[in-house]
């Protein structure tokens, strides 16, 4: 138990996670109370499954909390702490931000332009140092995908700003 300190951070995260699971259970139980009974006779109504899931999540969350407090799983805590030490929040946070912007831009800007912008930006967030190469890859990839999907697979992708010049 000499490495209790490294494990501290991991245990804290494990406890928070168990509370989230308990919270999900409560959400399911509250959601279950909002389900209407439905017309006609059914042996098992629509409320049963959400209730069982809610109770299950609540119980599992409590057990996880016990496991992280009363009899801590130090092995796990150390692993989580090691994971935390080896990682940082900025890169995944920025990546997620870029993703959401990309999705929002798809419709109005169009598939080709949005992808051509997103790919080099995301690559540079992830540590790429060769923006020109990334941009070329992005343009080629998005044009090939766009034409492949719309012409050969019959899947419509948004043309956006390039609508006047695309086939």
């Amino acid at each position: 138990m000499n490495s209790g300190n490294d494990a501290g951070q991991g245990l804290l995260e494990a406890r928070l996670a168990s509370l989230v699971v308990v919270g999900l259970g409560i959400v399911a139980l509250v959601g279950a109370t909002q389900v209407g009974p439905g017309a006609g006779y059914v042996a098992v109504g629509p409320v049963v499954m959400p209730t069982i899931i809610g109770l299950g999540l609540f119980g599992l969350g409590m057990l996880l909390l016990v496991r992280a407090t009363v009899r801590p799983d130090l092995d796990l805590a150390r692993r989580v702490a090691a994971e935390a030490a080896a990682s940082e929040w900025r890169t995944p946070g920025l990546t997620l931000g870029a993703l959401v912007a990309y999705a929002a831009a798809l419709g109005p800007v169009g598939y080709i332009l949005a992808t051509s912008a997103f790919l080099p930006i995301a690559a540079s967030i992830l540590g790429s140092r060769r923006p020109v190469r990334d941009l070329i890859v992005a343009v080629v990839l998005s044009v090939v995908v766009f034409i492949g999907f719309t012409e050969f697979l019959g899947v419509r992708l948004p043309a956006g700003l390039l609508d006047p010049i695309l086939p």
Binding site: A14, A43, P92, L99, Y102, L106, L126
Partner: protein, 510 residues
């Protein structure tokens, strides 16, 4: 109808030039995506699912069979050369495979994996051909109570046998069940857990969940570590081929791996993790060179890779005959069937025999194609491993978005997918397995439907599940699955010795 006649009919369909092209496209795409590090067959199938929407059902499933097998072949390459298993069943391959690659024997390791996969998959496909129709015939007598019991077995074994802890596996499963219950209840038309959000009325699509968890979750967790870690790709010297001695040591391991993998994979308690671990331990025990284990013994790659492929084929038996997926990949395959309004199960063999037999025939064809793709062309696939990480993961995010967006042209689906990706990120960080979530999403509604059907038949009497002999036996089996991993500890305690640490653990997560 005779099995061989049906199979011949299947080949007649699958050998048409158009369908051969679909099979070739499937195995190539499957290998291409499967060889990308961190991407297993489950994600490969989920990403490529929307591509097949414009095809007819037979063509789509022939392509799927190719993607399914191709993803597995591709996965072994990353395990051996990068020490990055794409999914849990490849973990064992990394033990000896990566050591062999480091010792300059990457070529023989890749060759034994590819030929072993071919041998095992062919044996298993023959087994499917003769075994699946028998199971389908027997399954005609199954009642809803029995299906319910089978699904309980699948749930229990996924939580108990996958991942390090029963508690964490069960939590993941319940999160999946929670996601699965969102939307309109088919029986009563009531909205459940939508909290007034109109977009949730149709529920969350399995592709949204799987791509979010596997692609976005994986990319985000790689992003968190990327600046501090460097992965090394090991160059392969020489050809991907084996010496006479390698071959002599490999072939019994292939056969044994296939014989372990197929039966265990086809049990409803399936999954491919356990057979690979069993095969590894067996090879270690039987080997004439036990001292080589841990430093690159070829049997330790040959056996588990064969077991992995055989188990993956075995998983198709409960999927096709009972409609019961037992792995995350199978769950996504089931979703694909649902897209085409096909319900896998005993009736599939009666109602759509052309499709089933064309699918089975294309498994044979796909295997031959994969052997051809993987032995001479292995260098091409290795090139893919050299794509710089930042570009690779940005590309994965682009394709994840494309896969979900193109399925329904819906921005909200994409945002849900990202949200689930964040969930997957935290689950990875906190060591929760993600495979059971996918299984929970697809199996939860099926379980509920069978439960309700059984209860309607019994007019609300819960005892139907234990009074029907078949379902009682199956449920007893489920209880056994929970207890067995703890047996060593219980026995030790009964004998009054100090208990060994923990329980038996087979895989990590999917």
């Amino acid at each position: 109808m005779d099995v061989l006649t049906s199979l011949a009919g299947g080949f007649a369909t699958a050998l048409q030039p158009e369908y051969l092209l679909f099979a070739a496209a499937g195995v190539t795409l499957g290998t291409l995506i499967g060889v990308l590090p961190g991407i297993g067959p489950a994600l490969t199938v989920a990403l490529l699912l929307p591509l097949t929407y414009s095809f007819d059902a037979t063509g789509a499933f022939i392509m799927f069979a190719g993607i399914y097998y191709g993803g597995m072949y591709g996965g072994s390459t990353t395990s051996i050369l990068l020490n990055t298993p794409g999914e849990s069943a490849s973990i064992v391959t990394t033990i000896e495979g990566f050591q062999m690659a480091k010792a300059g024997r990457g070529g023989p390791a890749l060759a034994t994996a590819a030929i072993g996969s071919f041998v095992a998959a062919t044996i298993s496909t023959v087994a499917i051909t003769f075994f699946a129709p028998v199971v389908a015939q027997a399954a005609l007598a199954f009642q809803p109570a029995d299906y319910f019991a089978l699904m309980v077995v699948a749930f229990v074994s996924v939580s108990a046998l996958v991942g390090r802890s029963l508690l964490r596996g069960a939590t993941s499963l319940f999160v999946g069940l929670l996601i699965g219950v969102i939307g309109i209840d088919v029986l009563t038309g009531q909205a459940r857990l939508t909290f007034g959000v109109t977009e949730l009325l149709d529920g969350l699509d399995i592709v949204v969940v799987a791509v979010g968890l596997f692609a976005v979750g994986e990319a985000l967790s790689v992003a968190a570590r990327l600046r501090r870690e460097q992965a090394e790709v090991i160059a392969v010297k020489g050809r991907a081929w084996m010496s006479r001695d390698d071959f002599r040591r490999s072939w019994p391991a292939w056969i044994r791996g296939a014989l372990i993998g197929f039966p265990l994979g086809s049990l409803p308690a399936g999954g491919a993790e356990i057979p690979t671990f069993l095969s590894y331990n067996l090879e270690k025990r039987l080997s004439k060179h036990p001292e080589e284990f841990g430093t690159g013994a070829i049997e330790g790659v040959a056996g588990p890779e064969a077991a992995n492929n055989a188990a993956f084929s075995g998983v198709l038996v409960p999927l096709l005959t009972l409609g019961l997926p037992t792995s995350a990949t199978a769950a996504i395959m089931l979703a694909a069937f649902q897209v085409y309004n096909l319900q896998p199960g005993p009736l599939l063999f009666q109602n759509s025999p052309e499709l089933v037999w064309a699918l089975i025939a294309s498994l044979y064809i796909g295997n031959v194609m994969l052997l051809a793709l993987n032995l001479p062309l292995i260098r091409v696939w290795i090139k893919i491993l050299e794509i710089p990480r930042p570009l690779l993961y940005s590309g994965i995010l682009v394709f994840a978005t494309l896969g979900v967006y193109s399925a329904a042209n819906s921005l909200i689906d994409v945002l849900f997918m990202y949200g689930i990706g964040v969930l997957g990120f935290f689950m990875r960080r906190l060591d929760f397995p993600v495979g059971p979530v996918v299984l929970g999403v697809i199996l939860g509604p099926l379980l509920e439907a069978q439960f309700r059907r059984a209860m309607s038949i019994s007019q609300g009497d819960l005892s139907v599940f234990v009074t029907r002999p078949l379902s009682a036996v199956i449920l007893t089996f489920a209880v056994a699955v929970v207890i067995v991993p703890y047996l060593p500890r219980i026995i030790a305690r009964l004998r009054g010795r100090r208990s060994p640490e923990g329980r038996l653990v087979f895989g990590e997560d999917d």
